[in-house]
Symmetry: C3
Subunit: 457 residues, 3 copies
Amino acid sequence: MTASSALLGEFQTPADWIPQSNEAWELMHKLYPICRSITGEGVRRTLAILGERIPLTLFEVPSGTPVFDWEVPREWNVRAAWINGPDGERIVDLREHSLHLMSYSTPVRATLSLEELRPHLHALPDHPDWIPYRTSYYREDWGFCLTQRRLEALRPGNYDVCIDSTLSQGHLTYAECFVPGATADEFLIFTHVCHPSLCNDNLTGIAVAAALASELLRSRPQLSYRFVFAPGTIGSITWLARNDAAVARVRHGLVLGLLGDRGPLTYKRSRRGNAIVDRIASAVLPAIDSGARLVDFSPDGDDERQLCSPGVNLPVGRLTRTPNNEYAEYHSSADDFSLVDRTSLAQSLAACAAVLRMADRNCAYVNLNPKCEPRLGKYGLFRSVGGRHPGEFEHALLWVLNQSDGERDLLAIAERSQLPFATLASAADALLEARLLEPCRSSSNKDEPHVSVGSNP
Amino acid sequence: MTASSALLGEFQTPADWIPQSNEAWELMHKLYPICRSITGEGVRRTLAILGERIPLTLFEVPSGTPVFDWEVPREWNVRAAWINGPDGERIVDLREHSLHLMSYSTPVRATLSLEELRPHLHALPDHPDWIPYRTSYYREDWGFCLTQRRLEALRPGNYDVCIDSTLSQGHLTYAECFVPGATADEFLIFTHVCHPSLCNDNLTGIAVAAALASELLRSRPQLSYRFVFAPGTIGSITWLARNDAAVARVRHGLVLGLLGDRGPLTYKRSRRGNAIVDRIASAVLPAIDSGARLVDFSPDGDDERQLCSPGVNLPVGRLTRTPNNEYAEYHSSADDFSLVDRTSLAQSLAACAAVLRMADRNCAYVNLNPKCEPRLGKYGLFRSVGGRHPGEFEHALLWVLNQSDGERDLLAIAERSQLPFATLASAADALLEARLLEPCRSSSNKDEPHVSVGSNP
Amino acid sequence: MTASSALLGEFQTPADWIPQSNEAWELMHKLYPICRSITGEGVRRTLAILGERIPLTLFEVPSGTPVFDWEVPREWNVRAAWINGPDGERIVDLREHSLHLMSYSTPVRATLSLEELRPHLHALPDHPDWIPYRTSYYREDWGFCLTQRRLEALRPGNYDVCIDSTLSQGHLTYAECFVPGATADEFLIFTHVCHPSLCNDNLTGIAVAAALASELLRSRPQLSYRFVFAPGTIGSITWLARNDAAVARVRHGLVLGLLGDRGPLTYKRSRRGNAIVDRIASAVLPAIDSGARLVDFSPDGDDERQLCSPGVNLPVGRLTRTPNNEYAEYHSSADDFSLVDRTSLAQSLAACAAVLRMADRNCAYVNLNPKCEPRLGKYGLFRSVGGRHPGEFEHALLWVLNQSDGERDLLAIAERSQLPFATLASAADALLEARLLEPCRSSSNKDEPHVSVGSNP
């Protein structure tokens, strides 16, 4: 992959993405042990590591800041959390696995009977060896997560509980990586960074987004690309509440996550259902994964819940492999490196790149010579000896000319003509050069200068 | 079935409607012998019996009143009608069957040869034991209907013919039962009351409409319900000509008839084809009758011909079992109590009730917090411990919030989400209580006070 | 076929068109030997022969006239063209077959080695006995076309080449046959006349168009019909550039060509895709050829490329049998009288006639009595004795009344009602006579007087 064309150049197969997949794999290993939550040092350490790979702008939003119907919560940090049993033996310890502590647990230092302790212990009866992932962001509570097997082995007696955590005025932290393009129109890529030691959900999303950003930075894109790394739900809500200008520039978007398991690629359409990104996904994914699935929007899942809320309604889809809750290991300690593999990651990278590439190249044109065909031979665009059927490129020229009324973009022409998008794009380039076409970017703010994102207050 | 929730409460199966079906059956027996036509004492007697069960307002419209391209005809009444044969034997007698006399026959007292009589005798060669149903409302004529077998047995000779009828200035009679609801928006239920001793067509329609009205009167509906019992064609034309205000309030409607035979439920869509009532029928009928059929509008049939004429175009469908003319017994003496049964009637009642229930509950809402999801936990609407997948009710909350843009009603949300309508309705209730939604009745005259129906002039 | 009703009367089967097919067959034989190109005497001789059968207005457009992105080329004529071999033997001679010379070959008189001659010789390796059809209208060049077998037999040596042609200021020639109708709305029929001795492409198109014009001239059509006989591409471009007024009157159109081979009828939709002519083709063709194909628009093919260019976008489809390039003999000497037959021609004629007949009769109406049904009995349009189901004609009356809102035409009513178009048309006639309908021609210039076609400059 060369530095200049990179992601936006020729079509690449998943195999072309093995190097980036390997880098993503290493990044995921570095990030795995960190105890992340929706606020606190875990997120900051994650973004710091990410910032070694791609340029990030960090944003810190104070606790208590109102964001639509919500407010930024207090910042949560934890130094240690454990339970000692009746004989002083260590039952669970946060240092062993970041899932052992329910996220946002309040500080506790107490000795409790097993009966008193019991309501604070979470396990998965159906999967006795897995630790569940539990949170209590908005109700003051505390809890530990452990395997069902460990839970069942607990004997009556007194248990020492220690949660050395703080819930205090602080900040919610998120980061952006912005890749400026020839136009201010933006492609938004959103991924959540709040999950502790869970691999598919969502170290894969973070690593894939970072790899895409890294490639784009070596390209010269038409669109501008904004990558947002933020905690789930409250992070997207906070970002939306503070970024009216960027929101207005979003032409396409993807929520990325769960991109490393062995299930098929699954694209979930935007709330609009027929946004350009939805049509692109439908055009490109089957060529990359013959089992790829396209599913309709529903208001559950990840940050598309906020990005596609009725008052926001951005043209944003979601790309995952097996979606939330459709695999047993979801939100448990079994979502580890055994669940994901580098081949799947490479295929996910190729899929994202294909979507971005087509979105970047797609454009509607106006035929500047709309009455009858132009005499293409005059421009060197048609063979001189007639009588034979035109070839694919000549067909592409005719299709682009015939359909370019300023409304139908290359994607629509590809859908109608059944010609390859890349051939149509080359034909459009040739016609542009011959001054027979004019690009017609649909956005009303296409000439608006890029507004830099507000700095951290 | 309790007095308060009645028809509009929980989903009921056909079995729940057996008591009402039995009452309907008795009512049909009382009405069967009456010699009805489009005007006259037969209609008045019918409405008087109906008035013992439900409160009716009667309307008498004078003969000669212009109604669109028509005028109200003279009133027809008959005291006796018979033919005596050459040996003085009684050939046909209105007292034996109300079908024996062609409706609107002019008065006759004459002795005719068989040859002269013959053009006035109607029979069914293909069904030699059935008496046909014939009318001549708009051309002065007279006639008798008899079995083919009887007709063929007639010998040459002189026949004494007596029709002691009157055609005179009088009135066209129809009745309304109005059930006021919380809003002035109306659900119109129309059924014809002009047929003589024919059971399926249309004593079943009359009896089902009466049962529905009776149940609704014990409910507290959102919509107002107007039941119109009127002669076919000229009755709906007359009603439409005199009720501009009520017509303007009609949001949904059903023409009811032919609801007792053993054929499958058949819903005929409104002229619009995608009216709310059409979509409701498509949503609820298959659950009540797995063989239920949904057919497109056509400008034949019953009073939907007028209600769906291009200048009226009301969102009114028609519910029958086997439609007009698709069963051999249609419009003959074989349309009697052997053709219909109480099980079918109960199923028809359940089907009507299901349509009315969904129409009454259906509503479009505006999400008052459309940017991002509201924090549902704040309103007690979401479990506090996170990490697990939301349940069906939480999904319903999210769907209602996400789709409630003031355009999409609960029905549309049910169609898109595939969640049960009742669950979505409960979710909407909970969100209303939390002040996160506002109902958005689409009608332009939603706040208009109910205008009482004009009295008989 | 009678003189008055002719084409626009009752439905005709292909068998009814045998006489016209035979006449077309004779015409094709007369036209076959002529060496035609996009300009010159070949076109003039062709139009002169055509003018013996139907009244034609000829147009001569001077070389150099700008027509959109093109200009009318110099006029090409040729008196002789041949090659003599090393032993003086005649290798190819234009007198033997008009395909032997590449169209628009520049004048040549030279002696060349086989090596020098070779780039100017065109053949078909896959079909060693066929002569290809080649042109070089816009690049000065010369060439001969011959069979592969002849080409391979050429021995090294000197070849005498003679092309006695002229390329000079002159004219492009085309002709129109105009059939005035009751309204100025036009049906455009376009066929190309530039191909030399090729039978299916396009002597069949010329002969079918001439037969249709001949029949229409004996009818009294509603629409006006304009037949244009012009060279392909540059001819339609020239016609479009000079006929703004006629273009504005086009309501429907057909490009005709390739109508004699034994393949199925193939209708290619207009660029609009749902123009009335597209819907008519879909309604009538299957009844004439059960294997008829309906295919979507694409910007290749014949003069529909110009007529359906985005700035023109006329509602014009194309009728062929096997389309361009989908049969091996296309654009070669094998496209001769063995490829076509009179039965196929007759079927093509019947298909064109069926399209024209329905277009001519189709109309949208406004129901003048839109509230409720009119009382049809009053107008003698309904039987007086009621109680029986209405018949097909009565159903047609009800459908026309119910749907006639000024938007839906008879074709749309036929599509929705599944009643025969002819029955609906009769019903509309009866309702018109009863003054219950008013025709509503959709065109904005329906009352505009017919503008006579500009004369030859």
